[in-house]
Each structure stands twice: as structure tokens, then as C-alpha cells.
């Protein structure tokens, strides 16, 4: 099993990551990927100019690694990649990229879904939606929490 988690303040290029991931996923019969993008509006429709993701110098990467390792083990997938951005992020840019590979598709789909539910609720970040006029720290939504609870662990 290959499990990799990375934290970066640079641009995430999903197309490059996916190509590399597929090339390295030897023996896999299925690859699933997910990209989370920064939105240009908040929950109320107001404009967001940038997203600020603060992180902890040690705990954040450890939380990503823990989620990736546990998610890969739970679904028995062969390869797992989690890449998460921190710092200032503009609308349309990728915040998170997840890829999973397994011999058959169901495990890869489920693992990617599970990884995202855990990342949305447990990854150690402090996230702020900023505009020229204001800023708002945000917490996981009820939908995020409900998504996490459906896995029963």
C-alpha cells in the first residue's frame, strides 16, 4: 500500500498530480480523484476575494497523514494521495486534491468519499473567507458534520 499526504503553499495542479498518480498506481483497476476548489461566494452569496487557510506547523500535516493512512486501511485500497493547500487561495484555485486507487472501483470511490468527509471536519486548519469589506472565520457546516457521521466511526 502506498499512502502519501502533502501540505503545500504553492499552486495545486490536479492534472499533473493525477497523471503522476495513475502512472504510479501499478496493479490498480480503478482510480478515483477529487478536487476541492475555492468558491468566489460565501454561504449567503456574498463575494469572497480570497480564502485564508492557517495551519499548525506540525499538527496539520500529521492530521492529513492520519486521515490518509486510516482511510486507506479502512477500504483496503492500494494507493492514496492527499495534497492540501494552505495560505492565501483565490477563487477557482484548488484547495485539496485526493486520489485513490484499488483493484476494483467501489473501494476507490468509497475511500475518496470517506477521506473528504474526514478532511472537511478533522484536518487541522483555520479557514477565513476574506473580501475587501470583511472577513469571516468558518467552521464545518452541518452538512460536513452529517457527512462525517454517516461512516459510523
Amino acid at each position: 500500500m502506498s499512502v502519501v499526504a502533502r501540505l503545500t503553499d504553492g499552486e495545486i495542479r490536479p492534472e499533473i498530480l493525477l497523471e503522476e498518480f495513475i502512472a504510479g498506481a501499478s496493479g490498480a483497476g480503478a482510480v478515483v480523484s477529487f478536487c476541492g476548489l475555492a468558491r468566489g461566494t460565501d454561504h449567503a452569496g456574498a463575494r469572497v476575494d480570497r480564502l485564508r487557510l492557517d495551519h499548525h506547523p506540525r499538527l496539520t500535516i500529521r492530521s492529513l497523514e492520519r486521515i490518509a493512512v486510516e482511510g486507506a486501511a479502512r477500504f483496503g485500497i492500494s494507493h492514496c494521495l492527499v495534497v492540501h493547500r494552505h495560505g492565501l487561495i483565490r477563487p477557482g484555485e484548488t484547495i485539496v486534491f485526493v486520489a485513490t486507487a484499488s483493484p476494483h472501483r467501489r473501494a476507490a470511490f468509497d475511500a475518496a468519499d470517506y477521506l473528504m468527509d474526514r478532511l472537511k471536519t478533522e484536518a487541522v486548519f483555520w479557514k477565513k473567507e476574506e473580501s475587501e469589506a470583511s472577513g469571516r472565520w468558518i467552521e464545518p457546516t452541518d452538512a460536513d458534520r452529517a457527512g462525517r457521521l454517516r461512516w459510523g466511526d
Partner: protein, 71 residues
């Protein structure tokens, strides 16, 4: 959390105390902050997230964080 400052030393018993004891000490020292300021606060010792009943040895460093946003 910023109202407590970046680093603070608190007097504790020689055999240490729990994280929740430390929270109480913080509120005693900064009563103007109010109990709501600690709602949802998480803490870590030696780079591990810990619960309120975790025992902290005298001289050990505890980090307090506001509620995580998630990724």
C-alpha cells in the same frame, strides 16, 4: 484565544494538573475574557491533540487552539 497572548506560564501543583484545570486557571487570570471564549477550544500536548482530562506535568507545554475549520 489571542486575548490570552502567545505564551503564558501558569502556576500549577508539583504533580501537575488536568487540561481543564489549566482552562480554569486561565479564566481566573483573565476573567474579562469569559467562559464562552473557551467554548470548542482544543488543546495539544507534545504535538498530540488531547482531551480535557489529560494530565499535564509541571513544566509541560500545552497549546490551546480555537475550533478547527477543517479542510
Amino acid at each position: 484565544m489571542e486575548r490570552f497572548g502567545p505564551f503564558l506560564q501558569l502556576p500549577v501543583a508539583e504533580d501537575g494538573c488536568s487540561v481543564s484545570d489549566l482552562s480554569r486557571l486561565l479564566l481566573e487570570r483573565f476573567p474579562e475574557v469569559g467562559q464562552d471564549a473557551l467554548k470548542g477550544v482544543r488543546s495539544a500536548v507534545a504535538d498530540e491533540i488531547v482531551t480535557d482530562d489529560h494530565h499535564v506535568a509541571a513544566g509541560e507545554e500545552v497549546e490551546f487552539f480555537p475550533l478547527f475549520s477543517g479542510g
